[in-house]
Symmetry: C2
Subunit: 267 residues, 2 copies
């Protein structure tokens, strides 16, 4: 089990490195695929993965990516409204096949999986995006590692006792500080490559600290949904790591946060 | 009961006439208020009206209207993401107070009530909006009336037997044709006032026909949600008419449709 997890972890990192460094269409296509798989994992939980409400969700996700790619961002709101109306058409004309919760779960999935993950691509496509995009992974995975180590050493007070009994407040703080430290260090290393930006070390530390806090919310949110539905893993796509939503639970939350912080804080 | 319904109906029409003709801030403030009340009615169904997840929803609704008013529409996506993340923070740190469905229901409410209704204001603020905005009400209420009359006279085949046993396919078609007829008639009356637009009669008929079809989906959707939760009315704000969501169930769906059809079809 350890070696399975280890080697598929290395595989994941290589895929991430390759697709993110190349960026452009390769990254775009990879994220679209990951989003659709993640969406199907979420929809499986709500029992609509292979039903009309799920299919409407996949099509909405696909349309969102097409709009993103073709720079039709002003049409996003129109897409969300069309999506909601089409869901309602299926809901009322197949009544009582679905209940209200199936409808709103399908709608929610587009945002939780498709849109949030697409910010990895959007961050990569920013000016200086080839440097900035890594902050997403530094704060997600860095925070995770630091939180684990600090929690093991100093953890005393429970963070969310009923949801994740092993997590401690000390670990959470350690994770945030560790992510900030890694972010600052990364900023120090690459600061000469970033054109026209000041205070990179401090900015990156602040961004990664905030990202680290949010990444823990993402981690807990995925756990909470799984607990509510009494499942262990969302899927088994990645040997030893579970499904897309198990492995990307923090990245889902940090990607948009890092994108917006980078846009607003780094000038 | 009839007179209560009759007089409060007249009251509603007068408020609609007054606020829509004035437009601007008066209409904006009225719709914001209606949206927040409608949101609280929906949240009552899902059991979060007075809880943190509900309050986050009202704040997201308020922020949406502020962004709309201040023309910060490019920030909508940022708002939706921030809303989702804040909901998740409350979800995980108060676990197991809420379940996943409370979270997604809060999220959904912003779109279903707040955003959809705001298109009455957006339609009114279009060029020629003072004429176009009435199409929303012509197709919603016109379709309703025609569908009822045609259904009573010719109704044979059930439209959605398990959801609304009294509705017929004949009535639904009659509603669509009736709405188209009223739309064309309205276009014929006002066509000389609309600047720089061609084929008004035909355009208005097509727009109102499509709007009539969608308005019936809105009506059925509100019924379906109420059936799933075994409630008769969403509220009792309007004597004889129920709550905001009972009275505006079709307008919620026709407002964005009429807005987009007007923007794309009327040149």
């Amino acid at each position: 089990m350890f070696w399975t997890r280890f080697f598929s972890g290395i595989g994941l990192v290589l895929i991430a490195l390759f697709t993110i460094i190349f960026g452009g269409n390769i990254l775009f296509a990879t994220l679209l695929l990951i989003s659709l798989i993640g969406l199907s994992e979420l929809y499986k939980v709500f029992g609509i993965a292979n039903k009309s409400l799920g299919i409407v969700g996949y099509l909405a996700g696909l349309t969102y990516y097409v709009f993103l790619y073709t720079m039709n961002q002003e049409k996003f709101l129109m897409l969300f409204i069309a999506y909601l109306i089409v869901l309602m058409v299926f809901y009322v004309f197949s009544y009582p096949k679905y209940n209200a919760l199936h409808v709103i779960a399908s709608f929610f999935g587009l945002f939780y999986v498709g849109i949030m993950l697409s910010f990895v691509y959007q961050a990569r496509m920013l000016e200086n995006g080839i440097y900035l995009v890594w902050l997403i992974f530094i704060c997600s995975w860095g925070c995770d590692t630091f939180a684990y180590c600090v929690g093991m050493l100093f953890g005393k007070h429970k963070l969310a006792p009923k949801l994740s009994p092993k997590k401690s407040i000390e670990g959470a703080i350690g994770g945030i500080l560790g992510a900030a430290l890694l972010g600052g260090l990364y900023g120090f290393i690459i600061k000469d490559y970033l054109q026209g930006a000041d205070n990179i070390v401090l900015s990156f530390a602040v961004i990664c600290g905030i990202g680290g806090a949010i990444s823990q919310v993402g981690d807990l949110a995925a756990s909470a949904i799984k607990r509510n539905y009494d499942i262990k893993d969302y899927g088994n796509l990645i040997p030893g790591h579970g499904g897309i939503l198990d492995r990307f639970d923090s990245v889902i939350f940090t990607a948009p946060i890092i994108y917006y912080l980078a846009v607003y804080l780094i000038k």
